[in-house]
């Protein structure tokens, strides 16, 4: 199994979710994060104090998938989250050793 972590632009969340469920993915977990990268934020100015906004709001999606779905999932996320503009984000794929569904105790691909 693979554990996929995708950092995307917030307004793309629904599209990415739909793309993944389209592949048969049944669940995922989302976190509000701040991203630092090539994309530069605007400057916030408060009574003359200027703060370069270097951390931009992003959404992090974590989704565990069976190995055979991994490539399709990555592609689907990439396609759905893409705007072609800087700051679109990243997808990271990690090996997932084990998965458990808490409710039933099912493990591994049954648990996803």
């Amino acid at each position: 199994m693979k554990f996929i972590i995708a950092v995307i632009k917030p307004f793309k969340l629904d599209e990415v979710r739909d793309a993944l469920t389209g592949l048969g993915v049944q669940g995922l977990t989302v976190t509000e994060v701040k991203g630092y990268g090539r994309q530069k934020g605007q400057t916030e100015i408060y009574r003359g104090a200027e703060y370069a906004v270097s951390f931009l709001p992003k959404m992090k999606i974590e989704v565990a998938v069976p190995d055979d779905l991994a490539d399709k999932a990555v592609e689907a996320i990439q396609a759905a989250a893409n705007t072609g503009k800087i700051g679109d984000g990243k997808i990271f794929v990690l090996e997932l050793a084990q998965a458990v569904r808490i409710r039933t105790g099912e493990t591994d691909t049954d648990a996803l």
Binding site: E44, R47, G48
Partner: protein, 457 residues
């Protein structure tokens, strides 16, 4: 406020027999009758001015700090409200106003002890400065001014003062700075009153006073750790906007209430307050837009507060044109004082207590000397009565009385010196005895949990 009818009397009395006029003014209300309309408005004004501090100022300041300091920030305004209430009833009112109708007690710099614990205050009696409302109402109204003034100072040393040190400082400051300055400006025999300083609703007593104390405080206590490089951006400007809005609404009680009656002068004071505030807010935000590229929420509310500050001394004296002029001037000047000046000089007046209240108060004091007009000042009350005998009196520069500007500057200078020196000494002594500043770690991780054991979730 108190001086609504008095200050001008003294202003022109310079040319004549000041003490005599003052005495006459103080003695004037031969048969004071309590007016229901005036009392209703002053009860309301008292509620409005209390609302300025809690929750108004608490939110205005609270929204500007970082999230882990917001409770500590709002706590200060609330605690000061309680503390000064007690001080005022115990002795501060007596020190500031006791002697108004008591010649023997009429010193130039301080009142007496005849109202300690409000003793001798007859519910149905009146104070010489407000002959148409019960003295308890006058006392309460003045209390709300004594509350907000020290609360304003807290913006200067936000995020780093011990709560205990703050309580001690404010206690002493109220007694040895606020009470005397209020007395000198508003008591007919007060030093600045006799000088002829025009201060309708407390530009000197409240704003310059608090602003200077704030400047001294932030110099003595030092900069916030990390200033100016770390991120001190306001955590929730919606809170600040609520605060600024309630300050604005409450300021009607502050300025129109300072007429001490529900009549024409209150109406004019309300009018010029509104106009100057709006003009200053727009001036600030348009300059900001031009200079920084964007009109900001913090900008427009700061401009509004600057306008409210500057029109305060002028409210019972100037007309609409004067209000526009004062508003536009202070909006532009305070924009620079709160941005460039602070940066240039390098002190950390965290929420611009000095930059807005100090500078704004000084601008207002001076421009009051420029735009004060007889037609407004004599629209009502004791002053009007006095003026009937001196219809040719000139008030501001605009009416040809350039000398008034000098008088106004004397008032400013006196306040700066008195307040600056004593504030400095008080803070230095407290710092030596118990320390002013929280530990570095507390400052870094936030005051809410460390000082008050609470946090925002």
């Amino acid at each position: 406020m108190a001086l609504a009818g008095m200050a001008p009397a003294l202003a022109f009395a310079q040319d004549a027999a000041a003490p005599a006029a003052a005495a006459a003014a103080a003695a004037a209300p031969a048969a004071p009758t309590i007016s229901g309309g005036d009392t209703a408005w002053m009860l309301t004004s008292t509620a409005l001015v209390l609302m300025m501090t809690i929750p108004g100022l608490a939110l205005f300041y609270g929204g500007m700090v970082r999230k882990f300091n917001v409770l500590a920030m709002v706590m200060q305004s609330f605690a000061i409200t309680c503390l000064v209430t007690v001080l005022w009833a115990l002795v501060e009112y007596s020190l500031a106003f006791s002697a108004a109708s008591d010649a023997a007690d009429a010193k130039e710099f301080i009142g007496g002890f005849s109202r300690v614990l409000l003793a001798g205050m007859d519910p149905t009696g009146t104070h010489a400065l407000a002959p148409t409302i019960p003295e308890p109402v006058f006392m309460m109204y003045q209390m709300t001014f004594a509350i907000i003034t020290p609360a304003l100072i807290t913006g200067a040393f936000a995020d780093r003062m011990k709560f205990s040190a703050m309580l001690i400082f404010i206690t002493l400051w109220s007694l040895v700075v606020y009470a005397p300055i209020a007395h000198t400006v508003w008591h007919p025999n007060g030093y600045l009153a006799k000088l002829g300083v025009l201060d309708f609703a407390g530009g000197t007593v409240v704003h310059i006073n608090a602003g200077i104390a704030g400047l001294v405080a932030c110099l003595v206590i030092g900069k916030r750790k990390g200033y100016p490089n770390a991120d001190f951006s306001p955590h929730n400007l919606v809170l600040s906007l609520i605060g600024a809005s309630l300050l604005w609404v409450g300021w009607f009680g502050f300025n129109a209430g300072s007429a001490l009656t529900a009549g024409p002068r209150a109406g004019m004071a309300m009018t010029v307050t509104q106009v100057a505030t709006a003009a200053a807010a727009l001036a600030w935000v348009f300059v900001e837009w031009a200079v920084k590229g964007k009109p900001s929420v913090l900008g427009i509310i700061s401009g509004a507060v600057a306008g409210l500050v500057a029109i305060t001394p002028a409210a019972g004296f100037v007309d609409t044109v004067g209000a526009f002029a004062i508003g536009i001037a202070v909006g532009i000047i305070c924009f620079f004082s709160a941005t460039s000046l602070k940066k240039a000089l390098g002190y950390d007046d965290s929420l611009d207590a000095f930059g807005v209240h100090g500078i704004g108060g000084i601008v207002g004091a001076i421009l009051t000397g420029v735009f004060a007009k007889m037609a407004v000042a004599n629209s009502e009350g004791a002053f009007a009565a006095t003026l009937k005998d001196a219809p040719d009196t000139k008030l501001g520069l605009i009416e040809g009385n350039a000398a008034q500007i000098i008088i106004q500057l004397e008032g400013v200078a006196f306040t700066i010196v008195w307040c600056g020196v004593i504030t400095f000494v008080l803070l230095k002594v407290i710092d030596l005895v118990i320390g002013l500043r929280v530990d570095e770690e507390v400052e870094r991780d936030g005051l809410d949990i460390a000082l008050h054991g609470e946090s925002i979730h």
